[in-house]
């Protein structure tokens, strides 16, 4: 049984049919990436998994349980955290408060304190900035904060929506290093990326999404060599 199974979901925004039967699987311990052009439905897929949107058809099974009956905040309690598109950090709260919100569902104070240290080790810049208000961080720091905040929930599955968006190349590498590190320490990751080359390099498997449909599925390496993917998403002729 896979950790996450998305079965043939159809999601709508009003009349707009954004997902037209998306199915995918994420196994425990994997990094799976989802690539696709603008408006393909990547964000919609993640928001449907997190419960912010409800599929009109199909279902989402996490650890053998159908998520349809849970509200978004209960889905977090089940073990799914998300780094949302555009960071969405709490701009008027301090870095520390943002991280506390990340750990909102947790009762084990001792473990939370340890995880805070772990997150600060992973992203040391945040430690220096911990008393600063979120809105005054640089874009890259905000992205780190969004990642750290999601990690504070200690999720089984981490959904990441374009964590490298708008970052300088050095920072992009740092973010991908972090993704690999987090994964090595036991967090399963479903990654949405515009930076398909980097994403496919770190991913075990990948899916290609086009206008609401999954059109390809393969290992990261194989997708990287696939001529269609190279042409459409890796900018090669």
């Amino acid at each position: 049984m896979a950790l996450l199974e998305v079965n043939n979901i159809h999601t709508y925004y009003g009349n707009i049919h954004a997902l037209k039967g998306v199915s995918l699987k994420v196994e425990e311990g994997e990094i799976v990436c989802l690539i696709g052009g603008n408006g393909a439905g990547k964000t919609t897929t993640l928001r449907t998994i997190s419960g912010a949107l409800r599929p009109r058809e199909g279902n989402i099974v996490f650890m053998g349980e159908d998520l349809a009956k849970y509200k978004p905040h209960q889905i977090v309690q089940k073990g799914i955290a998300m780094v949302p598109e555009g960071r969405r950090i709490f701009a008027r709260m301090t870095v520390m408060e943002n991280l506390e919100m990340g750990a909102y569902i947790r009762k084990d104070k001792q473990k939370v304190a340890e995880d805070l240290e772990w997150v600060f080790e992973l992203l040391p810049r945040l430690k220096e900035r911990r008393r600063q208000v979120g809105g005054t961080l640089s874009g890259g720091e905000q992205q780190m904060l969004a990642t750290a905040r999601a990690l504070m929930a200690r999720p089984r599955l981490l959904l990441m929506d374009e964590p490298s968006m708008g970052l300088a190349p050095v920072l992009v590498e740092a973010i991908f290093d972090t993704i690999v590190k987090i994964n090595k320490e036991g967090t399963t990751i479903l990654l949405v990326e515009q930076n398909a080359l980097m994403a496919l390099s770190v991913a075990n498997r990948g899916y290609v999404l086009e206008t609401g449909n999954i059109v390809m599925e393969d290992t990261g390496e194989a997708l990287k060599k696939n001529p269609r993917v190279q042409k459409a998403y890796l900018g090669m002729e």
Binding site: P72, H73, M93, E97, M101
Partner: protein
């Protein structure tokens, strides 16, 4: 540079400034002539200041409901006046019963606490009910819709309470322990006003502590910034909204008790004016901002109590203190024109980016 600046000034701006400046001139002129006339002694000014602070304390507690709900839902809960009314209007029956049995004057502290607990519980329940019935189903409706519902809910509550308790006035018993004043040298401090001011400050600080430092308060701030992101943290957004209404309702109920200590008569319409003034305070301090609500309320209380005598008396206006409500609402209009962001707040239109 200069031309674009000049083009931005319209006739309306000039008119508004002229009105503003003439009011300022009247206020200054009035103040100078009042002070020159020497009609009021330092002691009577001191009395007015203390009275103003006591009023401000009540406004501050009611204003919390407006400001917290605005912070979370970006809507003005106009039914909050009735949330305020429901507490003291219900607790009056307990107060009279306690008084008749002699309990209230034997144990004044316990008696007032019991009345306060009932008042807070009723106001809190009414606030939560209004949210559940009138606002939650309209959470995603255009912003004008809940505003209209709020006015409807407000009337509904007024006439429901009138139906329950009648359209007459109910009087609170006097509490002997709070009668009279302490004399400090030449100034005197009315016991009631001192108790009201201290209680208001303590409760405002508690509310501030809850919002800033408690886990629920932090979750409230997170929800107020971004509901979807807050849900992604595992925060139950609906639960936090209920908590916000409950907190604002309880504060209004407590404010109600401080109100009846000063004006011991209740009726179904009693929420309207204090509610509107608390709303003015919230806007004056910067709506959505907790310390701002406190500051705005104190400023408004002071202006209302000192203002008529100070600004208008010298102009020869008879019984100037009858104009205190007019002063409060002129202030509301002028903050909305000149500084919609209030003293501490951000601009109303820019609060949500």
């Amino acid at each position: 540079m200069f031309r674009t600046w000049r083009q931005k000034i319209t006739l309306t701006d000039i008119l508004v400034w002229v009105i503003g400046l003439s009011i300022a001139a009247v206020v200054i002129w009035g103040t100078i002539s009042t002070l020159q006339s020497g009609k009021y002694s330092a002691e009577s000014w001191f009395d007015l200041v203390v009275k103003g602070l006591a009023l401000g304390g009540v406004y501050a507690l009611i204003a919390m409901g407006y400001t917290l709900v605005y912070g979370i839902l970006r809507m003005i809960n106009f039914a909050h006046s009735e949330v305020f009314m429901s507490g003291p209007f219900t607790a009056v029956f307990l107060a009279n019963a306690l008084n008749n049995s002699g309990f209230l004057n034997r144990y004044p502290l316990l008696g007032i606490l019991a009345v306060a607990v009932l008042s807070m519980a009723v106001s809190m329940s009414v606030a939560v009910l209004v949210e559940r019935v009138a606002y939650r189903p309209l959470r995603n409706a255009p912003r004008l819709v809940p505003l209209i519902t709020a006015i409807g809910a407000s009337f509904f509550l007024q006439y429901t309470f009138r139906g329950f308790y009648g359209s007459g006035f109910e009087a609170y018993p006097t509490i002997e322990a709070l009668n009279g004043a302490w004399q400090l040298g030449t100034v005197r401090l009315f016991k009631t006003q001192v108790v009201v001011i201290l209680a208001a400050i303590v409760m405002m600080f508690m509310l501030y502590a809850i919002v800033m430092w408690s886990k629920l308060g932090k979750a409230m701030r997170a929800v107020s910034e971004d509901k979807e992101a807050a849900a992604l943290m595992g925060i139950d957004v609906d639960g936090i909204i209920v908590f916000t209404f409950a907190l604002g309702g309880a504060a209004a109920g407590a404010g109600g008790v401080l109100y009846i200590l000063q004006f011991p008569v209740v009726h179904f319409y009693m929420g309207f004016i204090p509610g509107l003034k608390a709303f003015t305070s919230a806007v004056l301090g910067g709506i959505g901002n907790v310390p701002g609500a406190f500051l705005g309320a104190m400023v408004l209380g002071l202006l209302e109590s000192v203002g008529p005598n100070l600004f208008l008396d010298g102009l020869g206006i008879p019984v100037a203190s009858q104009l205190k409500d007019a002063i409060a609402f002129i202030i509301l209009v002028f903050i909305l024109i000149f500084r919609p962001s209030g003293i501490l707040g951000e601009r109303l239109t820019q609060t949500k980016v």
